[in-house]
Symmetry: D5
Subunit: 149 residues, 10 copies
Amino acid sequence: MNYYFCPVIRKLIAAKEARGLSFAEIGKALGRDKVWVAALLYRQATASKEEAEKLKELLELDDECYAAIQKPSMRGAETPSIPSDPLIYRLYEIMRVYGPAIKAVVNEMFGDGIMSAIDFMIDIKKQEDPNGDRVVITFNGKYLPYKKW
Amino acid sequence: MNYYFCPVIRKLIAAKEARGLSFAEIGKALGRDKVWVAALLYRQATASKEEAEKLKELLELDDECYAAIQKPSMRGAETPSIPSDPLIYRLYEIMRVYGPAIKAVVNEMFGDGIMSAIDFMIDIKKQEDPNGDRVVITFNGKYLPYKKW
Amino acid sequence: MNYYFCPVIRKLIAAKEARGLSFAEIGKALGRDKVWVAALLYRQATASKEEAEKLKELLELDDECYAAIQKPSMRGAETPSIPSDPLIYRLYEIMRVYGPAIKAVVNEMFGDGIMSAIDFMIDIKKQEDPNGDRVVITFNGKYLPYKKW
Amino acid sequence: MNYYFCPVIRKLIAAKEARGLSFAEIGKALGRDKVWVAALLYRQATASKEEAEKLKELLELDDECYAAIQKPSMRGAETPSIPSDPLIYRLYEIMRVYGPAIKAVVNEMFGDGIMSAIDFMIDIKKQEDPNGDRVVITFNGKYLPYKKW
Amino acid sequence: MNYYFCPVIRKLIAAKEARGLSFAEIGKALGRDKVWVAALLYRQATASKEEAEKLKELLELDDECYAAIQKPSMRGAETPSIPSDPLIYRLYEIMRVYGPAIKAVVNEMFGDGIMSAIDFMIDIKKQEDPNGDRVVITFNGKYLPYKKW
Amino acid sequence: MNYYFCPVIRKLIAAKEARGLSFAEIGKALGRDKVWVAALLYRQATASKEEAEKLKELLELDDECYAAIQKPSMRGAETPSIPSDPLIYRLYEIMRVYGPAIKAVVNEMFGDGIMSAIDFMIDIKKQEDPNGDRVVITFNGKYLPYKKW
Amino acid sequence: MNYYFCPVIRKLIAAKEARGLSFAEIGKALGRDKVWVAALLYRQATASKEEAEKLKELLELDDECYAAIQKPSMRGAETPSIPSDPLIYRLYEIMRVYGPAIKAVVNEMFGDGIMSAIDFMIDIKKQEDPNGDRVVITFNGKYLPYKKW
Amino acid sequence: MNYYFCPVIRKLIAAKEARGLSFAEIGKALGRDKVWVAALLYRQATASKEEAEKLKELLELDDECYAAIQKPSMRGAETPSIPSDPLIYRLYEIMRVYGPAIKAVVNEMFGDGIMSAIDFMIDIKKQEDPNGDRVVITFNGKYLPYKKW
Amino acid sequence: MNYYFCPVIRKLIAAKEARGLSFAEIGKALGRDKVWVAALLYRQATASKEEAEKLKELLELDDECYAAIQKPSMRGAETPSIPSDPLIYRLYEIMRVYGPAIKAVVNEMFGDGIMSAIDFMIDIKKQEDPNGDRVVITFNGKYLPYKKW
Amino acid sequence: MNYYFCPVIRKLIAAKEARGLSFAEIGKALGRDKVWVAALLYRQATASKEEAEKLKELLELDDECYAAIQKPSMRGAETPSIPSDPLIYRLYEIMRVYGPAIKAVVNEMFGDGIMSAIDFMIDIKKQEDPNGDRVVITFNGKYLPYKKW
């Protein structure tokens, strides 16, 4: 457990841990992916009323948590601008080292536009490998071409 | 074309553009992926002597470029710590918004460790979609568990 | 004229000034809005081949400029992260002071999502007023709801 | 709901949510625009005595909140200098990417001066569109020419 | 002389020094205050055509300088965000130490608004004093009340 | 009222507000200027024992406040390095935009030295004007020439 | 004792101090090195269930501490990005001064790759010396070559 | 080869590469360690007259390089405060993650003092390992106890 | 009194003030210099057991303070990286303005090395002067030559 | 020699080195202290006409250097805000670690005021010591009490 400034995040993570449920198990109950569920508990996604009710029951949330997860949060507020944690830093390093190459290839394949981070999904898989298992993270975002006017 | 501080990068990109080759076409000639080729031209990857020779011939590189692409560069030196370009910023935003969720899920699936950004590959695909094509970026990195001692 | 690091921007602005054309006049020739034209000359938008040819003729661009304006640039690279220029700073100040209020209202009107800055247009008008004319800047961006998965 | 450092902001937002009123509904009661009302509750605008009394009654504010909304606050104190939240970041990105173009066009249309962010109004509208609704944000600020002396 | 990045500033200051004129003497010739003249030569103010012509003649400016001083510059671009020079730093220190007190007094005297830095003048005087002369800097800016809407 | 980290500042401002006294009125009672009084309450100036006693009586200060205002504080600790509040930011902007010009003029008028920010006074006046009242802020600091050795 | 933001770290260090045990003594009880134990108590390493149980008994940990040390923490969250403490700063200075030389030598000895900071161990020894004892810190990390694809 | 701002560094590295010598080979000629030699060529160490003469001959240095390597440089000037290069970043990460643990262990073993980074040596070795070779970096610095007075 | 984050510092300073003792008087009782005593109370120096006991008696310290002053603290943690307080800022300004000159002179007098800030003492004296008393601060640190290896 | 951005500094230092004179020797010729001379050559102090003429003759300065050293420079412009060079960093570290203690002692000895960094001198001496010579740096600045008004 990490120490988050926002007390709601701390309560949500503690509730999950107290029930001994994995993100995937909660996801199954909600009909959602494990990464989205983790994003929800870290207050980076928003639950519908139905999702909030299921989660309230599953994790025995209090009213503050139940209300909070239904509202858009100030996303990214708990993450430092340059992350210190090595797992998260590697994502930053990939942006720093490969960002211009990714941009150049996306521009070449799609034109002048971007991959949306809103109409967007993340998938995380384990790829077994005799030389050591591999983490496979897939970003899937809608291509948005720059509009001209 | 963007204005890079390092003159070798500018010459490499200009050489590619002068020949009118795509990253994928250069990749085919080298037997390498298009993203790796882009990383090489932006001086974020290192060519073997054979790769350098093929590239020298293909892009008519001068001696400075030919020598430079065979040496490990100071990676990330041309990218600002917080990117301003929207396409690259979205990768940063994903780290900022979803970093803690990705960390939590990777820790739950694999244990206390990280995805390597060194023993690591990037793939970029276009997924056609009637609601608008989608950019699919896959990171594939070896899982490295924290060593205890 | 300001001193930009990128020599292409300096040449493009100098070409416009040498011809004595306004952004609106260039826009008329291209069939584009004056703000988009300004964004193009400051290398924040990308011209089609046809637009580039018209512009080449109109501003007597050299080959470097002609090629450059057809390629996606590293957007935002010439703007400091916190602007010092008072005109640009006021846009920053609006984000700083009214950002949370704008977010709250957009969330209330549209749900959990954002205004796109890619599928996006800017309009600038002069509103005459006896107490002093007013600058009217309109941002028009597609609403993008957060995808769940 | 987000976690704000200032306890008065947290109480004001909680009071609005407890009553189930939208910013527009509160605005109607006060005779003010929804964006201004949101700015007021996030402590970026100042209420007159009459406005404060109406709001006190409407939202059942305590004395601390009633007094606080009548005083000029330290504006912007709760917003990070580079925002992490995607909705707010897009406003920042617009400044970063289009700032020089907006400056150039305003200078060309009005002369050497700025758009005031004090004698200033914000409007937010929903523009329905079969390809997806659009967010239309309008900034309307007095043109202030640089004084010479 | 200091080393400025912008070559036009360096030429303007060198021209003044080569003629051996003070800012006040140039100001007399232009019918402007010495501080405004200094701001003009450091590219923080904009000359009218008439002013530019007088200055061209007085300082024997080349065409680049003559054109540049008639255009709004990217103000503040040559000043670091936290100044290192002690004379300029003291202005920063005054803002840092006395900023909240100045704000509180202005709010109490005028209401919720600001002193404009655009409709604004600076005066610098020497006040002779047997204990050591004193620098007297006066800022005179229009009071701008926050508009409500 | 703003939310200050230091509880003593919050108590001092609350005490002033509870008594309904202006800075000028408190200044009259102490024989000091209104700006100095504001600086004292924001803990940027230090009271003598006599001043502290008068203030204690006038504002019914508790012992902690009474002791605190007699001790030199860590000045500037509550102000961010780049201010977000528009009123305070304008002072910063003046430093950023006009700093080099002010330096050049002071050097020309006085020689190589600075205006002290310690042997220093601030005056704030309202200048009535049919086009809108004006804020007149005067800095009066001893000229300190650089010593040679 | 230092003041850490995270209450669990403060409790863990206080528990160690209350028992009067050195890191080496705790390490002996756990079968781990003293540096790893210190990393564990500062929440930069993760204990297995067996290690956590031994530590709970040895240091009389409460349930919160017992649970916390078994979970991956947000590493580095308590350390400033540029350290102020002289002992820690010297490690930073070594990176700053000798970083490029270390990189060049590692690249020359091993090729284009890095020393892992995950599959990694630290050893600290005292080397007695008549001119003053010496601190000998050894980093031992797996060489990771950059993968090509 | 990386692009360094200082032209002397670029010439020194180019001279080494042109001769095809490793740092270890140059070290043998000078009677110095390979890491110290790399530090010298990156202008982070200072050569004696004898060392400079040997190096001049060995690498056919010009007079500027010969003079420069005998003078203390502004150390660290070419390294960013937070490194982007992954190999160098790992050293930074070790400081960030393990800094407090290293400090605590050094304090426990030696008392209140530091490891000198001046009376200091670095050794880099390759440790062969069937699971992958390991990089072993050893820092050896004099322990300096805090003086009391 | 300033507001320090660390509660132990606040208690130590409050204890000194409650007894009405100067740093010099406490220093006399401990056999230490006044500056060292101030550093100790601000948790930047470490007391021996004997010193801690004397101080405990003299200032009636509680157990937490008594234990804390015997342990190496995280030095510098309470000071911002660029100080806002004018008295402390002047020390920073001296480093900024005269740092390169001091470096050049020390290198010329001593060779390539530094003044230790660990084997180091500070003295502060008042030098009476009819033109105004002078503050005389002396740094006395061991010269440490760079070791070669 | 270090690589300074300002070409005048580079020429001044090169001129000194070409003549083989120490700062003390130049100081003797000018009747000034060696530290002041170093400050002059690094463009942090200003020469009188007489001093400039002597220096011109002594170092065979060109006209640009001769003119430049007679003008107040933008002090501190070549020094990074947090220095990387270890010798200069130690001065920064002293400010960071001992700043609050120095402030507290100066306030106790002198009252609420500062040590001037303008009416100010620096002396550097070598103190021979069998345990290693010591660097003794003395700052001597006028005490400036805060003015009340």
